[in-house]
């Protein structure tokens, strides 16, 4: 499973999308476009990313743009993994 597939699996799990995340591309819009992504879901998502990828997110590192699209979130995860 590559990072993008892993990320989509986490999105599917946290947002209870029942497999719909499989069809997401890097251009798929997230924040504001997916109603399931409310504040509780954003927190669950950050936590799941930390636990599954093994990095720590500082609250200053994230803003709305981080969650704008799948691609933006993937860039963030890849950046954390490379750090």
């Amino acid at each position: 499973m590559n990072t993008q597939q892993h990320l989509l699996a986490i999105l599917d799990d946290v947002l209870s999308l029942e497999g719909r995340a499989k069809d997401f591309t890097v251009d798929t819009a997230l924040l504001g476009a997916i109603p399931e992504l409310d504040s509780m879901a954003v927190v669950s998502l950050i936590t799941a990313l930390e636990e599954q990828f093994g990095f720590v997110v500082d609250d200053d590192e994230i803003d709305g743009a981080t969650f704008a699209t799948v691609g933006a979130l993937l860039d963030f995860v890849n950046g954390k993994l490379a750090a």
Binding site: D13, V14, E36, D38, S39, M40, A41, V42, D63, G64
Partner: protein, 302 residues
Amino acid sequence: MAAAAPPTPSSTPFFLDDGAGGQRLCVHYPAVLAAAAAPRGQILLLPPFAEEMNKSRRMIALAARAFAAAGVEVLTIDLLGCGDSSGDFGDAAWTRWSDDVRLAVGWLDARALPGTDGAKPPLWLWGLRAGALLAPAAFDLALDRPLHLLLWQPVTAGKLQLQQFMRLRVAADLIGGQAKGAVQAMRDQLARGEPVEIAGYLLAPALAEGLESAQLKPSPRVRRVAWLELSPREDATLTPAATMAVEAWTAQGAEVRAAVCQGPSFWAATEIEEAPRLIEASLAALTADADFATRPVEAVSA
């Protein structure tokens, strides 16, 4: 001759009286036992924090019925200020929650019937997420019986749970496009002795402080630890933090069984979700005999 259908586990809600501290809503699931059989043990739920409890209620009820059907007596409790217990969330303090745990343990222990060997069966503490941090409240009680832990995706450092909870405000600000710095503002407010409101929960300084310093560390009082985690992946392995904790408990002398079950993070999911494999793995741990620790780490999947 057709076998009689097994009796269905029943559940009875009741209020456990805490004197001046009010009442705690509990649900009791008596063990379903064949005639003259001795109960396998008792188990007390240590609930997860804030909204995680609401998301978990269905899984807790499903698991409690399954445990009772397997001969384990179950008690679940809403802590002070939670669910239908007395008080508002803003009244809750970590020390009061620890008192609630001791109150519930006392209720169960007073009901415990001796097994065939004349000794009381084990008492399990069932810690879900941050509930695991409340287990130490029972470690120094004088109970003449083994104490075991069933841990579901346990939080072992309250600091992390508090950080995640405070992030709800960060996330709300982030969605609303507001400026950063919400966490520091909340910390300043708590430090001044004022409560902060997060996602509809009023967090009092006494709860924040207690949670932040709470930790679950290996204790010689605990004989068995069943450490169960969930992952959406079938081939998942224990997180590095869990692996270290399992090693530490083993070094302390506890028998440890650890597993990763495939299933959703139901305490955090958007919808109410079920993780049946987690219940299966829990049942296997609760009903294990001397072979408890012989399958140390395993993946439970389809």
